[in-house]
Symmetry: C2
Subunit: 414 residues, 2 copies
């Protein structure tokens, strides 16, 4: 008998029919003898409907009241799922974030969980009940309702699993696990049976959005085993593990990419301390997130600074950078919106030398020009022409033997 926290997203509870199907899934798992806590999101489309109502009244809705409004979405779902479970004879009880004291800071619309009081839930589990908790919401110290931002239900589930010391946190989604690459681009891509938290973090930030980043961080910090599973089919999914020092790792776990990036480069920046901050601070003040940052000293007392932003922020970023460039006396600005980021991710890189040079050789053989390079301990990212992206993904996936055809070889490494 295990204690399992399951999370079902908006699509999984997208209709009365689907809520009934989730109830059946829950009852099946319970019949195996497990204790269950279920975290649910708002019915798909409901959060948008509520946000739309607020928009009709205010362009920039007051964050506190916006949270009061949005949090009703999950409250509706917990009641409906509990009704579905009770109707099928399964004892169940729902709780809002406030009712189980999911304490957060006061950063409305993007609050962070500080603690959870698991006592009510534990009592209900002991008496044989399935406990259904509203995701995405909590209350601050003053009792104000807060929400965790889009995708926050993942974090609620992981935080609950940590607080209750659950054996596993299961995140049900519309994909059947984490893949070595996007199967739409690489038909040969393989579901990973296991992936390290750090890899998930790097994959998420590279565009593979299976789970909310903050939830993955939480899982790592509190050592919660998380499994990503498909809602509407059977399958073991992918287990995300926090610590797995005993494992043998292949050098690369997956190939990820992000088509949303645009590149900006300021050339001939006077090579003086503080220049990078001088350029990037105005972007941060304008709430533009900067992803890759690469600086090179070109000699002659100047340097080049290149970075990428989301394509949606490109125009605004360019206009800011043009002003800054003039102020600091930089020589020239170049930019390219038609780029993409391609990354190799793998905790095995730590113990395998030469993965980067191998990656550059493979891309070179494919005649794909590398515009920027950035590396971390377990990830290598390059910016390339977006036209070459899919070819690059497939070439790397093949060369590092991640596909189904190479399964036997790769499996021996795992």
């Amino acid at each position: 008998m295990a204690l399992i926290v399951q999370k079902y997203g908006g699509t999984s509870v997208g209709s009365i029919e689907r809520i009934r199907a989730v109830a059946e899934k829950v009852i099946k798992t319970r019949a195996l003898g497990h204790e269950l806590v279920i975290v649910v999101s708002a019915i798909a489309g409901e959060t948008d409907r509520l946000a739309q109502l607020a928009q009709e009244l205010s362009c920039l809705p007051n964050p506190r009241e916006f949270d009061v409004l949005l949090s009703t979405g999950e409250q509706v779902t917990i009641a409906l799922l509990s009704l579905a479970l009770l109707e099928k004879g399964c004892p169940a009880r729902s709780y809002t974030g406030a009712q189980v004291h999911i304490r957060t800071d006061s950063a409305h619309n993007k609050a962070r969980i500080l603690g959870i009081d698991g006592s009510k839930i534990r009592a209900d589990l002991s008496s044989g009940k399935v406990v259904v908790v509203a995701g995405f919401q909590g209350t601050d110290e003053m009792g104000n309702i807060t929400t965790l931002g889009r995708g926050g239900s993942d974090t609620t589930a992981v935080a609950l699993a940590a607080a209750l010391k659950a054996d596993e946190c299961q995140i049900y989604t519309d994909v059947d696990g984490v893949y070595t690459a996007d199967p739409k681009v690489v038909p040969d891509a393989q579901r990973l049976s296991q992936v390290a938290v750090e890899e998930m973090l790097e994959m998420a930030s590279s565009g593979a959005k299976v789970m909310q980043i903050r939830a993955v961080e939480f899982a790592g910090k509190y050592n919660v085993p998380v499994r990503v599973l498909p809602t509407f089919q059977e399958g073991p999914g992918t287990l995300i593990v926090a610590h797995e020092d005993n494992m043998q790792h292949p050098p690369v776990s997956g190939v990820t990419f992000n088509r949303d990036e645009a590149k900006l480069m300021i050339q001939g920046v006077p090579d003086k301390p503080g220049m990078a901050a001088h350029i990037l601070s105005p972007l941060s003040e304008a709430h533009i997130e900067v992803d890759m940052i690469v600086q090179t000293v070109t000699g002659e007392g100047t340097s080049d600074l290149a970075f990428t932003v989301h394509k949606r922020d490109f125009k605004q970023a360019l206009s800011i950078v043009e002003q800054v460039a003039q102020k600091i006396g930089a020589k020239r600005i170049t930019h390219d919106k038609k780029v993409a980021k391609l990354s190799l991710v793998g905790v095995g890189m730590r113990s395998h030398a030469g993965v980067a040079s191998q990656m550059f050789q493979i891309l070179g053989k494919e005649e794909i020009n590398i515009q920027l390079i950035s590396t971390s301990e377990i990830k290598i990212s390059v910016i390339i022409d977006e036209q070459c992206l899919e070819r690059g993904v497939r070439a790397l996936h093949d060369a590092f033997q991640l596909g189904a055809g190479a399964q036997k070889t790769a499996a021996s490494c795992l």
Copy 2:
């Protein structure tokens, strides 16, 4: 400067446009220097929509979870009204029932308010905010969400007014006050500027549904001055007062009626103790509410028992009574669905003798046959043929000088 609690029902906040209109009304009142607490219901139709979702999952939804579901309706409205107020520059803050500790018993779907913690509200009022509170909801001792039953927002408003010692509780509705009779039946009917709590109670139970009965009881119990006002027009409405011993009263304040009643009579009931209970208990067990009950001993050791039920319950009531009649050896059952109840209400009856006989004379002159009579201290009700109802209402309204034409005479009494 006064502290005023205002309540706006579902129709008053029935659309984004109307919520904006309510916000403007609130801001106007605040500009006069008043402190305001606003209680709102769910947007018209929303409670039904939510109930419908529950019905799709369960014929008899679990009461606790049903309350979790329904209470989201009011929560949406408090957020939207606060957003509308804030957008217009008026400081505002919303609270759910749980947040201001509206404590109730645990009778889900029809809970009773036990207490309210006014401290947060008082602090907000002191800092110049308009406080917006969700009607219809509270939490029990265990922190479970409860609802007060349909129309419960009226009770929330009156209870808040009592807890905060407000100067007035204003109930905004789609009528412009309490009338001497239904203006649809009596074109000459007059708005009452003032009415006693007991009169409101008798009027409500006779079918004049301006305000929830429990809210009126609360107003009487805690001596809260309540005013019924129209939302979408100007006007002083009707003030409901708890104690007004100093006032001179006309014998009759209003004529009310109820078309929903059906009459049943069991004749030849053995005249033994406990017979009435024997007949009425099975009805109460079947959740059939019995209104008027009249028993007469006919001699020969038998009595007749007549009573009225809602027309909707008539068929079921008849079948129950047929079984009981057989069991107790009653002689005969007669029934009539085509009846209506006609009532005179007025606290002045206490000090004016002969109102009843005057009423019977007037109806006699109109050749209206009286089938049943029932009296209380401040009300006289008769059951008559429903065909004669409107004629009866108008005749009584005229004879007791309640109309606009008789205003000058009546006013001297008020």
